[in-house]
């Protein structure tokens, strides 16, 4: 694998699609081990980074399912610019809670949220240049782009994340010990 760039540090990015950000919270649960990782890699982009163009990176962790038109466009760019793409957490891997709306139609979902159960009805958001439109069907990331590794969990534990990222940076296969699915 050898995910190391010119200055000796691997580059990492994290992406937040249709998910609750719990996987990112779990990443922060690495606590002092984040310092350990910081010495070995450079974080090029995250949901808190103000970037116009997604950077070229060695490893990207993708949280969340592909739920709207913006996610769809973004994940394709992310794929092109990343050497190793990891489906990070259950929403990315299976669709999970984000995909529960798939059992109903988009119109039903929007009507329920913005009309039937709303005290103030200001209309139903449609896809435009400000608010991205919902896709007919929420999809796990690997249905849209090629995924190199899967890290299931809701959220994946900090230990699992640390083992995974450390392994990818060191260029070895991540250990699957103690892993659960779904």
């Amino acid at each position: 694998m050898g995910a190391v760039n010119g200055n000796g540090k691997a580059t990492l990015a994290t992406v937040w699609l249709g998910g609750c950000s719990g996987c990112h919270m779990s990443l922060l649960d690495l606590d002092e081990r984040l310092l350990d990782l910081a010495s070995k890699m450079e974080l090029k982009a995250s949901p808190l980074t103000d970037y116009k163009d997604f950077p070229e990176v060695d490893v990207v962790l993708v949280e969340g399912a592909v739920a709207n038109s913006e996610h769809l466009e973004h994940i394709r760019t992310v794929r092109e610019r990343s050497k190793i793409l990891v489906s990070f957490g259950d929403c990315a891997v299976t669709g999970n809670v984000t995909a529960m709306r798939n059992a109903f139609g988009v119109d039903d979902v929007l009507n329920t949220a913005y009309r039937d159960n709303s005290t103030v009805i200001i209309g139903i958001p449609v896809g435009n240049h400000i608010v991205p439109g919902l896709l007919e069907r929420v999809r796990p990331v690997h249905e849209v782009v090629k995924v190199d590794y899967f890290l299931p969990g809701c959220p994946p534990s900090a230990d699992a994340i640390f083992e995974f990222v450390a392994a990818l940076i060191e260029g070895r296969e991540p250990s699957l010990e103690g892993r659960k699915f779904g």
Binding site: S87, D90, V93, A103, R137, L176, R179, K180, G182
Partner: protein, 238 residues
């Protein structure tokens, strides 16, 4: 009782005539995966996870439904079998809405355990996302069709142990659905004794006890061994 001598995964083992390959394997510490088998009720060969290779036979056979024969040479763990089992489990995940993160038995589920033990880290098939209901009409229990794998354990335990036969399937194939009585809401079933045996044998969170939160429910099947021992040996021992 006539004895049968055979070989499973290179190990010489013995069983008695009429005993299934599955049962002889487990007696000898060879744990063939299963989802529909549950000790104490009859087998139906519904889940196909216990398929094994028998030397000299072209077809795979369900270990729970095949009696041992003298001189059989059986393999339970070949690459081909593992590939089939992975596919079966992925099909089960794709067929209905198993949102494990919001399930009462998350972390103590036989389907999840199977996936993990087979090294499944994603489902290669397109999820179907069917629209299915949840029946919470019963006072103490609930039925979530989204999590049902159609193993029929509940049907068999209700029929064979409780003697009520409240449960059965309606429909065929992918449209099969567990129903109580003739399709009434569970809470209105006249045959249900509310014993809860079905809930305890269910391998997933499809049948659950009300009042449990995510990951809080643990199923307990010890009652089954107790009843079966009493029935077969006339010994009421825990």
């Amino acid at each position: 009782m006539s004895v049968r001598t055979l070989e499973i995964d290179g190990k010489a083992v013995t069983g008695v005539a009429g005993q299934s390959i599955f049962s002889v394997a487990w007696d000898n510490g060879i744990h063939i995966p299963r989802l529909c088998h549950v000790g104490g009720v009859s087998d139906v060969g519904a889940c196909r996870l216990c398929m094994v290779e028998v030397e000299g036979q072209r077809k795979l056979v369900a270990a729970c439904m095949t009696p041992v024969e003298e001189g059989m040479v059986i393999r339970t763990n070949t690459e081909q079998l593992l590939a089939h089992r992975r596919l079966i489990v992925e099909l089960l995940f794709a067929e209905r809405n198993h949102i494990c993160a919001v399930c009462v038995v998350n972390g103590a589920c036989e389907l999840q355990d199977l996936a993990a033990s087979l090294g499944i880290d994603h489902v290669r098939l397109r999820y179907r996302f069917p629209t299915l209901s949840v029946d919470t009409s019963h006072e103490r229990f609930g039925l979530d069709h989204n999590r049902c794998v159609l193993c029929s354990r509940c049907i068999r335990v209700c029929d064979e142990v409780e003697g009520a036969h409240t449960w059965d399937f309606s429909g065929r194939g992918v449209n099969s659905l567990l129903i109580s009585d003739l399709g009434e809401a569970w809470g209105e079933s006249e045959s249900c004794t509310s014993c809860g045996k079905c809930v305890q044998v269910c391998p997933t969170g499809a049948l659950f006890a009300k009042g449990k939160m995510v990951s809080e429910m643990r199923k307990d099947r010890r009652f089954l061994k107790y009843i079966v021992t009493a029935r077969e040996k006339h010994e009421w021992v825990r």
